[in-house]
Amino acid sequence: MTDTTASDTPILTTRDGVPLKRSIAKALRREKFRALLLVAPLLLFILVAFIAPIADMLFRSVENDIVQETLPETVVLLKDWDAASGQIPEEAVFAALAADMKIAVKEKIHTRLGSRLNYESPGISSLFRKSGREVRKLDDEAPYREQFIEIHDGWGDVNTWKTIQQFSSKYTDGYFLAAVDRQRTAEGVEPKPEDQQIYLFLFGRTFFLSVTITLSCILLGYPIAYILANLPLRSSNLLMILVLLPFWTSLLVRTSAWKVLLQQQGVINDFLVFIGLVADDGRLVMINNQTGTIIAMTHILLPFMILPLYSVMKTISPVYVRAAKSLGANDWTAFWKVYFPNTIPGIGAGSILCFILSIGFYITPELVGGTSGIFISNRIAYHISSSLNWGLAASLGVILLTIVMIFYWLYDKIVGIDNVKLG
């Protein structure tokens, strides 16, 4: 080691002769490694318990091996079939179908395929169910083609075969197309019939309601943050409790409180009737619609607006406004030209936070939203637990997640995740 430290150029070395530079680099590397080692357990935990499940779900939005798994032989033969010819496939394909179906019926997976393809072409489900019942009775001597058409004339329909061919590949964009109200037809990608278009509308509504809620949070949060930041510490600390208590109260408690308050026989309607503002038979409908969702969610998200605004306003020196006033500005100009621009970072931070949180809300819209106040999350939950169309749920989820991630990224750029403050 000592020979590398040539005597003509003085290189600093540590006591055991290692060049100082290398020694420091080594120590730094060890330090980095140690820091990473401390983070590793949590990182691993989050990756396994949280990121992997999400990645897995995202994969479901394009995954489509059900056709290939259920009808392996048919799919291979069907590849060569020309859908544009207008002719149903030839006998060989039907023979393969008979073989595949016999296995599928034995494993009881044909109905699953039927309901999967039913999302793409309504009616196929019954075709598969009926064929599943009859497939055992098929005569192996006679041509399968006629026998299948005998069982269900759906097999004689070119569109049935087109659907099977279209979805026989391992991956599909069908769920994504469905999630944006599109479908693939013979002419290419087209919008769905008007009465079936719901998702874009629902995304639009989610967006619109989130913006409305965010705006009302700004409107209500700004004065509160202002008064908290400018009152003497003793009284502002007391008032802060009024903000923090809702923040710490269970979401379900707050939602149920609003459910109780906003009912037609609830406290608010009773009060309005009592003071004579509303007739007894004209009680306001404030629940199970958009009004209910907006009121309850504004209440729930308001602390998330007030707290960042407050922490920004707290740092604005009162000297600025005083200086503006002594230079001749009136109260409004001093506020609008001097104070307000200084609070914009707080408004930005609070708004993005409120928006991110509200766009993914599920509980409150589910409980007080009725049908006109539900969000895209509720539709995703519906597809997971009721309609069992998991692929569509996943693709809706991907779109929602992408929107949220864009705003998360923005938030990180503007505010920095490190600067998130709680309470």
Partner: protein
């Protein structure tokens, strides 16, 4: 804001009081829904509004019937039991791993800090329905769906971002030379951690733990998907109660939960004061 100057014009005077009134109304909006359920929970009749007897403070209008139902109904009792079986364990897991990671993240030479931070905070940002759906599919694949430990893992994952945020915030004010001094005096890293670092960051750790606790204790969406009926927690029971047929017992539960949040809030406030006092004392 501090008082109205004696030379204020009538307009200023008007605006001053108008602004205070507006703020008062907004504070009312914030706190009213939470406070109003407390008296309503003592309603003797199964209504969700004040009865005539209640308004005239007639004792006959009030009763503990809702509380009685809560404490005797086996569904609710089970839910309470499950909640207290899940939340503390999830909190312990989230807090221990989270605190260690936060210490690592606060080391000056940590590489890829931004990326790691973004990943660790993501459970707080991702819409809960997406987390729930993903966990449902993935946990059923590995056999954790519907099990106690599946729920614990899910809840701990949701709670860690809060621990990370509060502990890193406390560590910002932490003087790293204290660690070096301890090492210099011969303490090994574990001893240094427990004797030097931990006492100083404990307020951050505890408030992170409280956040993690309340996250798990309040959580309803993920558990609906990941849990089975054996893990039915209090929020789950409330959710089904609210969605199907709203029973006045919910008001009693809500009141008790408000009491719990007041307790948590008080603890947190005391911790904040303690931490401020400690920082005021420590030099630098």
């Amino acid at each position: 804001m501090s008082g109205l100057p004696p030379y204020a014009s009538p307009l200023q005077r008007f605006w001053y009081y108008a602004f205070r009134t507006i703020c008062g109304l907004i504070f009312f909006f914030l706190i009213f829904p939470i406070l109003v359920i407390i008296p309503l929970s003592f309603n003797a009749l199964p209504f969700f509004t004040f009865t005539k007897e209640m308004l005239s403070f007639d004792p006959a209008g009030y009763s503990l019937i809702n509380y009685q139902d809560f404490f005797t109904n086996s569904d609710w009792n089970n839910a309470v039991y499950n909640s207290f079986r899940i939340a503390p364990v999830a909190t312990l897991l989230a807090t221990s791993v989270g605190t260690v990671a936060a210490i690592g993240l606060s080391r000056p030479h940590i590489p890829f800090r931004g990326t790691i931070m973004a990943i660790l905070i993501s459970p707080m940002i991702v819409p809960v329905i997406i987390s729930a759906a993903g966990m449902y599919f993935f946990y059923s694949r590995i056999g954790l769906q519907g099990t106690y430990w599946g729920v614990i893992l899910a809840h701990a994952a949701l709670g860690t971002p809060f621990v990370i945020i509060t502990v890193t915030a406390t560590l910002v004010g932490f003087d790293q030379s204290l660690v070096r001094a301890a090492a210099n005096l011969g303490a090994d890293p574990v001893r240094t951690f427990f004797k030097v670092q931990m006492p100083l960051i404990i307020p951050g750790v505890v408030s992170g733990a409280l956040f993690a606790f309340i996250t798990s204790f309040d959580e309803v969406v993920v558990i609906l998907f990941v849990g089975s009926s054996h893990q039915k927690t209090l929020p789950w029971q409330m959710f089904t109660g609210l969605r199907e047929q709203i029973s006045p017992t919910i008001l009693a539960v809500a009141t008790l939960m408000v009491a719990l949040s007041i307790m948590l809030l008080t603890t947190l406030e005391l911790l904040r004061r303690r931490s401020e006092r400690l920082r005021g004392l420590s030099p630098g």
